[in-house]
Symmetry: C2
């Protein structure tokens, strides 16, 4: 296993199982509509196969394949239905589960098959020969029906370490019956890269069939295990977008693909490719509704974000010395973070990113750095709130904030009565734009929504630009959760004018106070951005 | 690189840099008190070194070392101060930054040194020989002063791939000057395990000194890269708790240590060890206030959580067939998740976990499974809300919920006036306990806090047990953030009675409505748990 052993591959399959194995993740619950929205994104990325689910076993997966047949057009990928070998003691052509796979009309069928003799005997409660017959019968029946068959050899690595001969017989039986690929599964996820390399190499010596790898991340090595398998001769990698999956997740297919293409120079994607991978990964997390992991390799929001004061000044000179790849290759960006650890060099760099030349303005830099430190000590964060930082910076440059309005008071009321069963939220805002006093009341689903409505309503006459502003994201974080609802609350808002979007932060002991601060910052920043002059 | 090459090591250093390199993570901001709270946890775990920060360069790190000298007693670990080699063209004993390292009184000093000639020339703006002199002078000066010196060879792997001779000279210069360890750093995090193995093996052939590995996770391989280095002959691994760190983070030291001890059978921890690692990892995330990553290997909340209906029935029989290790070895637990993907076998297993024998009760199982499906379709999740699930289960068993009280109405008001600058939150709850109508008003920092206060106050006379209940965690999630504050809100609450804790879930278009539902469930569950009889 060395750098010299780069595989000679014309083609490595990229097999995505986000919609099936990824959906096993704790807290994830994909609807048919979700799956129909994710599949085109995977196809756009250019994966080879999209595994859609288990028709017959899970009703919404049956529905997914029925709707996909009518509504889903794939340019790059082939749809795969997941299922199991026939029942022990039965026959493939009379097995209702196998029949449902054929009924799905998916061109590829992926069969999970046991290859660990202990699982055959203890979980399946049959014997080794019958399990091999189940594999042979089911693969032959489905290939005879014109389908491409992939076999997932479940618990293969654990099985191989316990009884290599039986595990190998499961693989060769599948190939002999016509399987196109046998994916070797580290189902329990406990393998290390050396072990995977050694075992895949051994299997490689015993068969010419196309081997695949299906890794889980329980030892923190799923990406490396997938790479090790390819280096040992596997030509098919399975994984999920963002590493979704049960327990610690499946191999993060995006990192595997990026490593294959950018590090080992093996092209594997057929569609838009890596340049779109960050956008696609985030679009998928919008649909799965799993908050993106900022530290995710390649595509995470932090993946190319630099905070270290030590490096900030050098990064100005030579960004390529501080990044393992050019972030544009994966559609991501380098970012400089504002933080009390950073110091003046970072603040200066951040200023430049926002269009302010602060070089040589030592006093100003010092004041801004001080204010950032104070604010962070009180729970603010500017890492994810560029607009709030820019307002702070502008205030220090101009000596004052743009005074679009003065708040007199605000109030929010939320009421519920058992009689009607309804909950009503209402907010009243009193403020002054120039010499005009405005009192507005807004309603909404919740108190923040009602405050937002009342605030916009009271400002839109004076500043019509506000009409186009819309709140698109709202995040709440309790900063000291050891005190339950007594904790300090931090709110991050994202607002858009239809063209661009910007983020602000608010902090307070009260969720509404924090929200109010972030709302006001968002509107003020939007007006500044649109070069609106205060009345 | 194979399983046969297990290193013959009596001792592998475990070097924790959570407090220094980990703190570079986006959004993390550790106070001196935070660092003083984390260090004893690391010591309890049994790491060999704790790197505390950069005294002299960062004021709060100077304070940390000053306070550590007085207040911090370590049973297992040695404290290390991080700093840099002397300035180019200067002398070690007159360098104020080097002086600050000595002043810290830390027994170990870790010096970052350049080993990539491009960084020497372009970032440091000096030549190769002067950089080597900086390493030699500073190491010699500090070892002469009686300190143990570790050298972090920054950008080593990138440097070695560009100019192996220069990178090696940096390493040998450090050893010749008296360095105890030279840690080879993948500073930009782009390495793959094969590359690390090959390069460490080459360095190993050229020196007898103790080599270390410092990996970042930019290619998703930090844990595997650390393992590869140890297998190639490194005897010192650096990393951070929970993989904290800049960009994609440092190597997750906990996964590395667990892999070394449980997979390669190399004992490395000196303290409480792996059996406490889950607790310690979560305690650290309480202090850093970075939400734990559920899928984190070994210690994540999901790391041993099973959802798959396919496996649920088999797991009942043979849990060891479905886990890469016994979760108790790392102080974690196996959990069964309730989900519409799971089906009856999982619900039955979950029931058993909660103390209900549902075997053979097919109708009941069917009803509970249906309700779980419906609730999840509406945004509920029971994965993290066992108490809400148990109430649902009890309701289906008993045919009714325990009627501790009937709500008539609730109302929350939050007000702010510019005049006083204050924000006040107040809630009024009207309800009936038995025949008694109770009206209570609570105040709080925020509306949820006020509602909680009013609800408790109106119930405590009838149910004194409530006196001991306390809300300890409160999480808010917007389920469809594409509509800003219009989104549906999910609230997860955790409550304790001082002995045990339990979690409930509430969902609604209104944050207060969702919070009210979860609050009511929490109190009702607590009363059920304490076997309080409804009035």
């Amino acid at each position: 296993m060395s750098t010299a052993s780069k595989p000679d591959v014309a083609d490595v399959h990229v097999y995505d199982t986000t919609l099936r194995d990824g959906a096993q993740q704790e807290g994830m619950n994909l609807s048919v509509a979700d799956k129909l929205a994710i599949a085109p994104l995977l196809d756009e990325l250019g994966v080879t196969f999209i595994e859609g689910g288990w028709p017959g076993a899970i009703p919404k997966d049956t529905e997914f394949f029925a709707r996909a047949e009518k509504d889903l057009t794939l340019a790059n990928a082939e749809l795969a239905a997941f299922g199991s070998t026939r029942k022990a003691g039965g026959r493939a052509h009379t097995d209702t589960q196998v029949r449902a796979l054929l009924d799905s009309a998916a061109p590829t069928i992926t069969l999970v098959a046991k290859s660990d003799i202990r699982h055959v005997e203890r979980a399946l409660r049959t014997d080794g020969d019958e399990n091999l017959a189940m594999i042979a019968d089911t693969v032959a029946y489905l290939t005879d029906a014109g389908r491409r068959v992939i076999v997932d050899a479940e618990h293969f690595f654990d099985g191989y370490r316990f009884d290599p001969d039986y595990a190998l017989r499961a693989v060769t039986t599948a190939f002999e019956a016509g399987a196109d690929v046998v994916a070797l599964c580290d189902t329990n996820g406990g393998m290390l890269p050396d072990w995977v390399f050694d075992i895949v190499s051994s299997v490689r010596e015993r068969t010419d069939g196309r081997l695949g790898i299906h890794a889980h991340n329980d030892s923190g090595c799923a990406v490396a295990n997938s790479m090790a398998a390819v280096i040992a001769g596997a030509h098919h990698v399975q994984g999920t977008v963002n590493g979704y999956g049960e327990r610690t997740g499946n191999a993060d297919l995006l990192a595997v693909v990026a490593n294959l293409e950018l590090k080992l120079e093996i092209p594997v994607l057929g569609g838009a490719g890596l340049a779109e991978v960050t956008r696609i990964a985030h679009a998928v997390s919008e649909i799965t509704n799993i908050a993106p992991f900022a530290r995710q390799p390649y595509i995470g929001a932090s993946a190319f974000a630099h905070k270290a004061g030590l490096h900030a000044s050098a990064i100005r000179v030579d960004p390529d010395l501080y990044q393992h790849i050019d972030p544009r290759k994966v559609g991501n960006d380098m970012r400089m973070l504002v933080s009390d650890m950073a110091g003046r060099a970072s603040i200066e760099l951040k200023g430049r990113e926002l269009g302010f030349d602060l070089s040589g303005q030592s006093d100003l830099l010092g004041r801004v750095t001080e204010r950032v430190k104070d604010a962070e000590a009180n729970g603010y964060t500017f890492d994810a709130a560029d607009a709030s930082f820019e307002l702070l910076l502008r205030e220090e440059i101009a000596g004052t904030r743009p005074a679009y309005f003065r708040t007199e008071s605000w109030r929010a009321i939320v009421e519920h009565t058992q009689q009607t069963g309804e909950v009503n939220a209402e907010a009243t805002v009193k403020l002054h734009t120039g010499d005009v006093r405005v009192v507005s009341t807004g309603e909404g689903n919740g108190p923040v929504n009602a405050l937002d409505a009342a605030l916009r309503q009271s400002l839109v006459t004076a500043y019509p630009a506000i009409e186009d502003f819309e709140l698109i994201d709202y995040k709440v974080r309790l900063l000291d959760s050891s005190h339950g609802t007594d904790a300090v609350t931090r709110v991050l808002l994202e607002m858009t004018d239809g063209q661009d979007s910007w983020s602000t932060v608010g902090v307070g002991p009260n969720i509404l106070e924090a929200s109010w601060e972030a709302l006001v910052d968002s509107l003020v920043y939007g007006l500044v951005r649109h070069e609106v002059v205060p009345l």
